[in-house]
Point group: C2
Chain length 429, copies 2
Amino acid sequence: MLRKRDRSERLSLSRQGSNTAPPAIAWLMSQALAHPDLISLAAGFTDNDFLPVAEARELVERIFGESERARATLQYGPGVGVTRLRELTAGRLERQDGQAPGSLDPASVLVTNGSQQLLYILTEALCDPGDLILVEDPTYFVFLSIMQSRGIAARTVPMCPDGLDLESLDRVLDRLRREGELPRLKMLYSVTYFQNPTGISTSFEKKRGTLELLRRYEADAGHPLYYVEDAVYREMSFPDSVPAASALALPEFRERIIYTGTYSKPFATGVRVGFGLLPSFLHEVAFNIKSSHDFGTAHLLQEILVEALDTGIYDRHREKISRGYALKAQAMVEAVTEWFPPEARFTRPEGGLSMWVELPQTIETGPESSFFGETMRQGVLYVPGEYAFADDPIRPCPRSSLRLAFGNTKTERIRQGIERLGAALRARC
Amino acid sequence: MLRKRDRSERLSLSRQGSNTAPPAIAWLMSQALAHPDLISLAAGFTDNDFLPVAEARELVERIFGESERARATLQYGPGVGVTRLRELTAGRLERQDGQAPGSLDPASVLVTNGSQQLLYILTEALCDPGDLILVEDPTYFVFLSIMQSRGIAARTVPMCPDGLDLESLDRVLDRLRREGELPRLKMLYSVTYFQNPTGISTSFEKKRGTLELLRRYEADAGHPLYYVEDAVYREMSFPDSVPAASALALPEFRERIIYTGTYSKPFATGVRVGFGLLPSFLHEVAFNIKSSHDFGTAHLLQEILVEALDTGIYDRHREKISRGYALKAQAMVEAVTEWFPPEARFTRPEGGLSMWVELPQTIETGPESSFFGETMRQGVLYVPGEYAFADDPIRPCPRSSLRLAFGNTKTERIRQGIERLGAALRARC
């Protein structure tokens, strides 16, 4: 990849600079750009047609209609986040979790540039190169590339239909203890609603069980073991789904829970505002790092969200797109049912933007595989499942799964794409 | 500062997490909040009255008036930055530098969350803990806190009225070579227009001289030595000032120049958009790190700047505020001339948001000093100059200077504040 004259430049780089690779997804996106006729079931984008154009226009008109408010919005806001947005966020989570008003402290909220920035900052605050994070197997591939660039190693925990397999988690923790590796472990990272990529949602009991297990191993770790609940898709639930409460509803574990969420995906990805709730000590550390990154998330974006939440525009929009995505998911499930061979196992999405398909192990799906090449020639792009599996010496990397996104592809194109994938699969089964 | 129960939490932290302190300025801001009657000459904020309320309203109406454009703006943009904004930025710099159209490649532009994010990413891309950066003495204190949190050491180079003292730079580089430290040196950081805190602008010849010196030591370093030209205040020049060309006008050094700038300060700090121009190899590394941070700067903010630049609204606003800040700076200089004792030496600002005053060494100005305490009791807040001096074993930290900001304080209050500071100073001279 690197040209020759770049060799000396490489010698300037830090360890992180050397380790940072283009995200795997960047290669897929370049394929999509190079082949504009491709049916992309790869990008985790939201649907352009579902974007709140009229709503956003109304919101900015409201903000700019009040001269003093407009003025304040164009100036720096508090680096930690706009006070009203932090209050609205805490109140919203209390209601979603069925907790009493006041049970969450708005001071625990930190506003960030999408929840991704908070994930990044957490790895900075907690992990030195060589440290360990426990991840779901499979997990969100962007988090894996953050870990890789920062020299953090993963240990994987298999998934059940309702979240982590707690017996496996216990075994993994026990092995780390026996090997003297627990002091290097800092956190467990879990995408708890409509997980990317599997679509699995974690039950409330599993969240409690995970926290109990982590607590049991803390003495041997010599420090807190944090539970990072990434709730990025929580507000992307379909109308019939009943999402479980978050770990924040377990106040006895509050000091070990880091909750991350976002307003970008449900509302508008071009208005990037995420947030986290952190124990007070970590909140201070993360805020200080955020201050070094950028001195705070842009005030204008935060005010747009404040106005959207305060007026109910956000929630009305969320309900509308929820029905839209449910229909697209249903179309994809029906097409997969019709066209894929019976050997393919898949999850029926209840939220989020994608579904997960496991194929017989004889069919490899990686970017170098003959299957990937053939489907590209057929004009369909998917995310190879192997991108979502961390390197872990305890198991070979699974190579026979697909992530199929329905977010930003029209229903008719979804059907066509699945039909073509199905034909390629049937020829191999 | 830490409560007892936080002791075990500290053990989870990474080296960076442990090293990251609240920015020095945070303490000053908390003082300002705790004493609302205080005349703050501390914050480097822009003037609320100069914010482009009507202009921003017009810009968002234009964007949201076109349905397709509004839709695109509410979706993710390219992670590297909006194409049109990168073109406008390259073209603008060509004109400012008197270079031919096409001499700067828009592909070298990376859009970031303010230029601060780019500075942060550069330290990540190039520096491991223990590495070195050459900084001006004094320098931008936020950059010093980024370095401190990341375990990067500073070596200082004294300033002349037209930029770095090149003989001193040569001596510093030579000492690093003799001590075998050059391989740890990665870059020289310079704020080249109306430097924060001194107000000094670097001449074009000094930029060339700096690049020539750095090149001469590269063989002993074993890798490129980058020149980071932080041009954050370039567009905050006063009407009579004639800013020098940037280092980008030296194409023979292009592969060693990292140029950073921002649209936030001249336009609206609540619309945070900065940028950098980087050599192609480093651009790729910085872009990959940026992708890990946040997947790209919010599309809406970038479109607002595109529209502002394309319509000329940005430039008209810039000219207007340029006159406004010049008048405020003049009022501050007149007040300092009238009220400060003749022993005080100061610079006459030609741009930017602050001025710099050096006092006799018998008067210490640090946050623990009796002078600071007295001026606080008199209701005036300034930034102690020592915040802007890096730790460097080769000289004691200067402790007798002040940074006085005129950005967001009304003229009458500026005069009052200077009068009170002057009274406290005269009592000591």
